[in-house]
Symmetry: D2
């Protein structure tokens, strides 16, 4: 109820603050007998970790996951998988200046008002550091869903958009550049833009597109737990996300039915896929694709007014080492959350079969 669990059958519960002893989680419901590739899990964490390139925060955290249970001789046992990631780089002094200050467009104010107390160091629980635990769980879900492919990539940074449809992209190129845009020309522009923004001490938003291939027909549960509704919730639960659309999305709202309908082929596939691989909340076997909007990071290295706990407007300037654009590091998080949603419905779909 307190919101730290995701999923119904493949269930992740996370804990941990940005500057506490450790973050981590429990995965409950991972089937037994799954031979885990631990390197593949760490690889996903490395894609998310700070300090990996010049366009992300320069904070250093090794982000090494330690598994405490649920795995025996390399294989899942069906019991809960507990894991931790130590917080090694806890420069808490960086944050003493915000102890009594609510930074604009951060969660300082709302946490304080809701809980009456908060761990102000690095945003505490509201920090995106928590998402590292999601990446661990998502990486395991991916391994369970061996035949399903999940590809996320940067589709815009500020006003720079990757105009090509996903069908024209080579997903193997996503990791070929530090902004994780599979089109090298657009990637270069995005990188240049982020560097420029960083130099200004400013930040910028962007969007991520995610494509899921080889999803079997039948995943998703009408009426409230439609597949896209749970994907939407999953994405909106990621820090800084402001919007979600799938298939034709907001563009579809401008169209006519005669343009928008996806006509069938004889094998049940469809000629077009404005539906985004989902009908009535249930996967139809076509590619699922969706787009996620991220706002610019709120911490900027410029002077700004803030509010202190005594009700005074005070001037402050962001310190610490922050991302000028969250999108490159959010790619593995989007994939992880997509994997968790698909894993959940995939298990649920086994029940009736």
């Amino acid at each position: 109820m307190a919101g730290n669990t995701f999923g119904k059958l493949f269930k992740l519960t996370t804990f941990g603050e940005s500057h506490g002893v450790a973050i981590g989680g429990i995965i409950d419901g991972c089937p037994s007998g799954l031979k885990l590739n631990l390197e593949a899990i760490q690889y996903e964490l490395n894609r998310r970790k700070p300090g990996q390139s010049e366009i992300v925060t320069q904070r250093k955290e090794p982000d090494t996951v330690e598994f405490l249970s649920g795995i025996f001789e390399g294989v899942t046992t069906g019991t809960p998988i507990g894991f931790t990631i130590k917080n090694t780089n806890q420069k808490s002094n960086d944050y003493s200046h915000i102890k009594d200050v609510y930074r604009p467009s951060h969660a300082d104010y709302t946490y304080e008002k809701k809980y009456g107390v908060r761990d102000y160091r690095g945003g505490g629980r509201s920090s995106a550091r928590e998402t590292a635990s999601r990446v661990v769980a998502g990486a395991i879900a991916k391994q369970m869903l061996e035949n399903i492919e999940i590809h996320a990539y940067t589709s815009s940074v500020g006003e720079i958009f990757l105009e090509k449809p996903y069908q024209d992209l080579d997903f193997s190129q996503v990791e070929s550049n530090i902004v994780r845009c599979p089109d090298s020309e657009t990637a270069d522009k995005m990188i240049a833009r982020i560097k420029e923004i960083k130099k200004q001490g400013d930040t910028i938003g962007g969007t991520i597109t995610c494509v899921i291939k080889n999803v079997p027909v039948g995943l998703g549960e009408p009426v409230f737990d439609k597949l896209h509704a749970d994907l939407g919730k999953a994405m909106l639960s990621i820090n800084a996300v402001k919007g979600f659309e799938y298939g034709s999305g907001f563009c579809g709202a401008k169209m006519k039915g005669s343009e928008h309908n996806d006509l069938f082929n004889a094998d049940g596939s469809t000629k077009t896929n404005l539906s985004g691989g989902i009908q009535g909340g249930i996967s139809n076997g076509m590619d699922i694709y969706f787009r996620v909007a991220f706002k610019p990071v709120a911490t900027i290295i410029q002077k700004q007014d803030a509010l202190d706990s005594s009700g005074n407007i005070v001037e402050m300037q962001g310190k610490g080492r922050h991302d000028p654009c969250v999108v490159p590091r959010a790619i593995p998080i989007v994939e992880a959350m997509a994997a968790l949603v698909i894993a959940d419905f995939w298990l649920l779909n086994n029940i009736n079969n």
Copy 2:
């Protein structure tokens, strides 16, 4: 797990197919001692019901709710509120032509593949008729949340957009026209557009904007059950919805942090509200606003190819009486789902206080 329950504390479970005996639901968790205004509940149902104007389906259903339990001498008792809405206008013969046919961009195919059997009459469970039960529950939630205002309105039909920000609108005008757009000039254009589309036997998409005022600080549960994540899921669970954005939404993804941050006033309110009333997944006391995209209705009164259960492509034409644009009737559904989300978090927030 099978997806027919919404909410954690103020919990709605619905049942019913478009052409079965009845639809209905159970509301579990409504506090005791609430004096219900039954007329206000029926009023919301009337806003959703078919046949209410010339731009919606001409099907006739009285959509009268009958309460079976949980209310004693007009007051809620804290026990579950069971209710039904009879299906009186079950022109099932209208649907015999689709018994073995999967209509394009409908849920016929996915239901058949998932369940192996389906009630094909009027879309069965996948019909938006189910949302009438949500409207009943939402109307009760609204009464529980007496001081919170929820205003949804039509913000676009096809390419016709209401350009004014919500702050410039008079919400009392929403019901002054049949398209439920509070700006009469834009409303006229929208109505004309829908009539034109209807004449073509076609359909058109649109968007709904929803504004929630007077939400106390502190609603929402980090990290997975962020207030906007649950709002997003709620909206995406409504039939035909393709996208959700709140606050700055997809536009925010183009902005810089220095432009996007909402600076504080001394009282904790903010000068701007690109955040959309939510920080870190928790309400901050400012207006919550979001936008929902609806695709065009899939049933068109034009000849289209469809697939039959033997794998043949067959020509079909929509019969029955369908909406040329779902948006006007979806307004009370959006409000109802918003009320359910807020009610849930509002109860949850009582726990710690």
Copy 3:
């Protein structure tokens, strides 16, 4: 959360007060494709209904179930099954004398204090009438679990015990007498005892034993949702239940390990079965058996002191038509709850297979 839902995958939510319009429920999660035998469902309801014999309440209720959804052409569709049972015999005047009185050992006082308001007619929601909805759902669960046998029977009434172990009983004899004890000699004594008690205007307690055969190995989820823990909760949720034990039960607490251990046969079965068919919370393929204790009905047709809402001790005498012993009518309820628990774990066990 408000306690009106049972089960995780095969989920029953019930509503309804003793003297409201109707009681009923929603079964969510019943797999599609199950051809329902409606007569078998009504048969179970008839076993529970009042007025069926001279040793139960003489109240008359036809208790006819009406299904509203989830079944199409006699087959479950995988969508929620909504159903109602009308309250036809609502002699509410029988209860005006308790409007402001809290009867001893009834739930009048606790409901009033918890909710501030209560439907006092016939106990309202606290009446065992609610269990009719459980019987409907349990009857469907039984049909899903076609190869699993669930046999409950009266094993004691007051001080009269059926001394034979269940292995020596012929379960086909349970329905051969009105007290539902499969040993005719003991049954006669029990019936005589109940008649005697009834003549005194008094009531008496009893126990029910339940045996479940052919449960596959592997049902139950450690560590909190052990199979016997959920069976125990299911039984304890039935009105008037005061205790639950399975396998060796309370007797096992007096034994030594060397006496209590069940040694294996080569095929994995065990020579003895003090474990009651469950090890570590998981079924082991042996018979599951347990015993449930029911207190005497609180309503007696004798003068008793009660408390009124003004804090006065007042004399009252039970009116209405009540059961001198609940056990005979509780047999189908115990079976229904057992079926719901097994159905739930049976579905859950499909996930990993």
Copy 4:
């Protein structure tokens, strides 16, 4: 769903095997602002830990809890409390002899059949070692419920019963002897009996009685989540438990209504309390009391037949260091589970107030 979470609002999820790296858990839903007494938590763990006296297992584990999150400057923050307890004494070699053997009346066989794989060391997940995590969470729940007293004590060992009713006991004497029976004379007999059993290489069962005082009126949720139903489930989820009864329990099933009814005093309290402090599943303000039956530990230091994974009956003898009677160490576990149940309903009850 996989059974490793307990509670709805005050939610504990545990992980960990007997001989893995660590056990631990996440408490989600503990209110913010609670100043924790960490010594009191460790004290409860010490009451449960092995090696504490001559009548329990001589295994040595310090069982030191480390908190990783959710506490800031000694106060709970409302965010999840993650914690671990390291497994320091992992004499795994003790268990190589059971790698391919299913011990009688242990969970080896059912885990192997359910999951296809198992961590055989010390019973893996099925070991009662997991309950240490429950004790941590229960100790925190106790601190939240500051005015509520929870007292468990040993009420029988084998055939030796403490005959006095709980009202005649001095709970401050529970910790005055190693068997945790508050009557010194009976305690001496119990201790002697356990020593004798231990000398035989055998084990023995027993019962624990638990009394909860000062519970406010109104806790518990009808109809399925009755307070005693959740207490029952909580107790039955503890390793080795075979039965649960509350109030009059199985004895109540022998009684007449005229004997069993608890008559009111003018203040709403009752003259007798056969109801055990609960009416209709809701606490009535009187003492709650219940009794829990524990079977004898299955591991005995005697030769026994067992089954190997090839289907052969093999002779085996328990090694390792085991408890001759679990009851003394189970006292804090019973209290912890009771605290978790009460905490959950206590929070839930705040919602409507």
